[in-house]
């Protein structure tokens, strides 16, 4: 993988005259796993959506490899794999049908491995609406984790997961950053995330 870097340049966001965050600047590059930590309502999700270009910041810029993402959005989206609070799965379709609709570049063998890793193998023909919260979450995570895109942005990936799955996810994140990927995750808990290389504390 090429070396990539992501820069945030003094981001500021207001929602209906209410300041969500201000003056957020950092730079991370290949091999980094940044954890955005903060209590509920500290603006983690807003920041993550801004990094993905879903929300427009009122001030400041997000730069991917030195270029503002607004100017080369498709270029940026070719590199970005995102999972928000919502899983982005269609409840009326099966797990396999949902994952087969690969909007990103997904390698099939890698995906099978991830599905086994999350122990979802027996549920491949089940409808998403019949899965538990944790199982749907793992399905959605499989999509990101098996994508070949360098930048993973995950909003609260550890919520709803059992300890086996957390371990597995940590392993995959570890593999990803050791091969030159970049990972951004958010969490509201203090527990140590083993793969973390840098941290951003919001709303203190």
């Amino acid at each position: 993988m090429n070396r990539n870097f992501l820069q945030l340049d003094s981001l500021e966001l207001y929602r209906e005259d209410h300041l969500i965050f201000t003056d957020i600047s950092f730079q991370i590059e290949s091999g980094d796993h940044m954890v955005i930590r903060g209590v509920n309502g500290s603006g983690k999700t807003s920041l993550i959506r801004t990094i993905c270009g879903l929300t427009q910041a009122d001030k400041g810029k997000v730069l991917w490899n030195g270029a503002s993402i607004d100017e080369s959005l498709f270029n940026y989206y070719e590199q970005l794999s995102y999972l928000g609070h919502k899983n982005g799965l269609i409840p009326e379709l099966t797990l396999d049908e949902n994952l087969d609709y690969g909007i990103g570049q997904i390698d099939k063998d890698g995906q099978d491995q991830v599905i086994d890793g999350f122990r979802l193998g027996d549920l491949r023909e089940s409808l998403i609406q019949n899965l538990s919260n944790g199982e749907s979450r793992k399905t959605a995570l499989s999509r990101v984790v098996s994508s070949k895109k360098p930048l993973w942005v995950l909003d609260e990936p550890y919520a709803n997961l059992d300890s086996n799955s957390i371990n597995y996810l940590n392993n995959r994140i570890g593999d990803h950053i050791s091969t030159g990927g970049i990972v951004i995750t958010s969490t509201n808990r203090d527990d140590s995330i083993t793969t973390k290389t840098t941290e951003l504390l919001l709303g203190s």
Binding site: C52, E78, Y82, K86, L89, I103
Partner: protein
């Protein structure tokens, strides 16, 4: 498989699973359209006079019901934001969603309108004109309703707002569609209103998906 084709197939599949949404629109269309011949009886002259507006108004009411479900479920389960974050053209993906919505919501109306028109004593060439008008105007309506639905995605109770956007935009189609049917039944050349309807349809398909995709990006913000 090409991603756009794949999107179309997936959307059709999902719509089939949400079949009750499709059926509600069709039932609405049939109910409104069939009530006149049933209550007025065999007053042929009257029925022929009103078939145009009745058909188009029923199509409008049907799309008012089905339009709530074009984007809302995907907005709520998050797959719409995944679509917006893909590196494929959102305009193209939205066009595919609109096409599949057309195939599952408008196409049934076109088929049903053949049978309904015969209860209005419309036969021969005029029957063809009625069906063609329903086809052209419902296709345009699909694009307008998609835009209205996308604009009101982040509104919690969007019903009234959607209607306010939809009605003025659809009035020209209602007027010219009714005229096309009326002219052909009376025996006047109806190509004028037809050209207008075709033009509207082409315009709505060329600009509609772009505006809708843009509105979706705004609603996701």
């Amino acid at each position: 498989m090409n991603i756009y084709l794949k999107t179309f197939v997936r959307e059709i599949k999902v719509s089939m699973k949400r079949w009750s949404d499709i059926l509600t629109g069709v039932i609405m269309f049939v109910l409104v359209a069939i009530i006149f011949p049933l209550t007025v009886g065999s007053d042929q002259m009257f029925l022929i006079k009103i078939i145009g507006p009745v058909m188009l108004l029923s199509a409008l009411l049907a799309s008012l019901i089905s339009m709530q479900n074009i984007f809302k479920p995907d907005f709520l389960n998050g797959s719409l934001e995944q679509l917006a974050l893909s590196h494929h053209s959102l305009n193209g993906l939205i066009l595919m969603k609109i096409l599949s919505y057309w195939a599952t919501s408008s196409l049934p109306l076109v088929v049903v309108s053949i049978f309904i028109a015969s209860t209005y004593y419309v036969t021969g060439l005029s029957l063809g004109v009625v069906v063609a008008t329903v086809l052209l105007s419902s296709t345009t309506l699909v694009n307008i309703s998609a835009l209205a639905a996308a604009l009101t995605l982040s509104v919690r109770y969007p019903g009234a707002l959607m209607t306010l956007i939809l009605f003025p935009l659809s009035l020209p189609i209602l007027i010219f569609g009714s005229k096309a049917i009326e002219y052909s039944i009376v025996g006047i050349d109806s190509s004028g209103p037809f050209y207008f309807l075709t033009g509207m349809m082409l315009l709505s398909f060329s600009l509609g998906p772009i505006a809708t995709a843009f509105a979706i990006r705004i609603s996701l913000d």
